[in-house]
Amino acid sequence: MTDTTHLNAMPVETASRRPGTFSASRLLQSLGARRIMVLVALAVTWEIAARYQANPIMLPGFLDAARAFIAAVSSDGLLWAALSSLAVLLKGYAIAIVIATALVSLSVASPFLRDALQTVAAMLNPLPAIALLPLSMLWFGLGEASLLFVLVNAVIWPFALSALAGFEAVPETQRLVGRNYGLRGLRYVAQILVPSALPSLISGLRIGWAFAWRTLIAAELVFGVSSGQGGLGWFIFRARNELMTDVVFAGLAAVILIGLVVEAVVFRGLETVTVRRWGMLR
C-alpha cells in the first residue's frame, strides 16, 4: 500500500526537482535557508544599529559580541558557568520527574488522588516558579537547595498535568486490548498506558525543561556566588556589573544555544525515534 503512495507521489517530485533549475524561489522554500537568511538579516541590523549608536557599553555590535563569546568560552569560564547551570538543572529536573511520576502513578490508581493532584497542579501551574524564590531563600538559605526547590516547582506541575492528560486520553480499545492479554498492574501500566500516553509524556518533559531552564537562569541572576562557582545567570549578572556588555551578550547567546540544542537534539530526537515513527504525532 505504501508502495503505491510512493508511485503516486513520484511524478510530482521529479517535476519540481528538474536538474539545473536552481533559483532564488527554490532556495526560499528550504526551511534551513530561510532560517539562515533571517539570522543573517538580524546580525546585519544589529551591527548597523550598534555602529550608528557607537556606544559599546549600551549596545556592542554583533562582531564584538561574537568575539566576546569566543573569548569567554576559551578563557573566561563561560563553559564552566554553563556546565554548573546544567548540573543544577539536571539534578532538579530529575528530582521533579521522579516525584511527578510517583504522584501521577498514585492518581492513576485512585480517582480521589487524581482530583487532588489536578486541583493542586492547576493551582500551582500558573504561578511562575521564580516567584517562589524569596520564600525558598527564606527556607533553604542562599544555596543549591534554594535553586532546586524552585526548579522542582517549575517542572512538577506542568509535567504532572500533561502526564495525567496523556493517561486519560489512552483509547478505550487499547485499554481493553491490554486487559484481553491478561496484563495487570505495573505491566499493564508499563506496556500499554505509558507507550500510549508517550506523546503527552514527551510534551510534558519538554515543557518542564523549558520552564526549568528559564527559572534557573532567572534565579541565578538573583544569587549565584554562594552556590559554588555560579552558573550562567550569575555569569551574565557579573558581566553587567563590570560593564562588559559584549560579555553579557555572550552569556545570553549561551543560554539561547543550550536551550535550542536540547530542544532540537534531545526532545526532537526522542520524538523522531518514537512517537513520530509510530505515526502518533505528525
Partner: protein
C-alpha cells in the same frame, strides 16, 4: 444448588467451548441501572460460529464483553469449557471494530507476537515465527515491519485477526470487525475469514448488525430483540456458505431474519 448435587460427569467432547445460561447484564446510566441483556442462553461447540444479530440496543456487544470478561454479569452463568469466566484472558482473544486496536508503537509483526510473549511466555524468536505464520495466513506477509499507521483499515483488521489467531484462543470473539470497512473490502474480508475458519476449525462468537454478513459467516444465528436484549429466535445456517450468496435459500433465510427483527419491531410499535 440442588442441581450441583445431581451433576453427572460428562465426557469432555460434549462440554461446549462456551456456554451462557440465563445471562443477565446491567449497565449503570444517569437514570440508574438499565438492563441490557435479560436471560439469554447460548451454547457454542467446538468449530461452531455463532453470530449474535440484532438492532442496536439489543445488548449483543455487551454479551461479547461479558464473554471477554470485561463485564461482570448481573445474573446467570457464563462458562468457558465448564470453568466460570471471572475476568479477561488471552484464551478469549477479541477482535474489535476500531482500527486503533493495534498498538501503534509496535510493528505489525510485534503486534501479533506481543500477546504470545505476554500470555504464553513464548520466547521472542518463537513468538515472531508464529506471528509470521499467522500473518501469512491472513495475507499480510508483505507488511510485517510496517507500523500500524501505515496500513489501510482492511489491513489493520487483518492484522488484528492474525493477532487473535496466533494466540490460539479457545474461542475467538469478534465485535463487528468489518463494520467500519468499505463494502468491497468487507466482502473480501468475510470470504477470507470463512476460509481460514474452515481450515483451522475456529470456534467463533461474532457480533454484527448486518443480516447478510450474519447468514454468511455464521453456522448458527442467535437473534436478539432490543431493550432489553432477549432471545428472539435461532437459525441453523451451517449449510449456507460463500457459494450460496444470492441463491434462493440464502435470500429466503435473509428475508425471514429481516422479518423477525424488523417485522416484530413494527408490530410492537403499532
Amino acid at each position: 444448588m440442588a442441581v450441583a448435587a445431581l451433576h453427572i460427569p460428562v465426557p469432555a467432547s460434549t462440554i461446549p467451548v462456551f456456554e451462557a445460561r440465563g445471562l443477565t447484564l446491567d449497565y449503570a446510566s444517569a437514570r440508574g441501572t438499565v438492563r441490557a441483556v435479560d436471560g439469554v442462553d447460548l451454547r457454542i461447540g467446538k468449530g461452531e460460529r455463532l453470530v449474535l444479530l440484532g438492532p442496536s440496543g439489543c445488548g449483543k456487544s455487551s454479551i461479547l464483553k461479558a464473554a471477554a470478561g470485561f463485564l461482570t454479569p448481573a445474573g446467570g452463568d457464563i462458562r468457558l469449557r465448564d470453568r466460570p469466566i471471572t475476568g479477561p484472558g488471552p484464551d478469549r482473544m477479541v477482535v474489535f471494530q476500531e482500527f486503533d486496536q493495534l498498538l501503534p508503537w509496535k510493528t505489525v509483526l510485534d503486534n501479533v507476537a506481543f500477546p504470545l510473549r505476554v500470555a504464553r511466555g513464548i520466547s521472542r524468536s518463537e513468538a515472531r515465527e508464529r506471528a509470521r505464520e499467522a500473518l501469512m495466513r491472513v495475507g499480510l506477509s508483505r507488511a510485517l515491519d510496517q507500523y500500524p499507521h501505515a496500513l489501510s483499515g482492511g489491513m489493520k483488521q487483518r492484522a488484528a485477526i492474525a493477532r487473535a489467531l496466533a494466540a490460539e484462543p479457545e474461542i475467538l470473539l469478534m465485535d463487528e470487525p468489518f463494520a467500519a470497512l468499505d463494502a468491497l473490502t468487507r466482502l473480501q474480508m468475510q470470504r477470507d475469514l470463512i476460509a481460514v475458519a474452515d481450515e483451522i476449525g475456529m470456534t467463533l462468537l461474532f457480533v454484527t448488525h448486518a443480516i447478510d454478513e450474519a447468514v454468511l459467516v455464521g453456522t448458527r444465528l442467535h437473534l436478539l430483540s432490543a431493550h432489553p436484549g432477549r432471545t428472539l429466535a435461532t437459525f441453523e445456517t451451517a449449510d449456507l456458505g460463500v457459494d450460496d450468496v444470492g441463491s434462493r435459500r440464502f435470500e429466503q433465510v435473509t428475508r425471514e431474519v429481516h422479518h423477525l427483527l424488523f417485522g416484530s419491531a413494527r408490530e410492537r410499535a403499532a
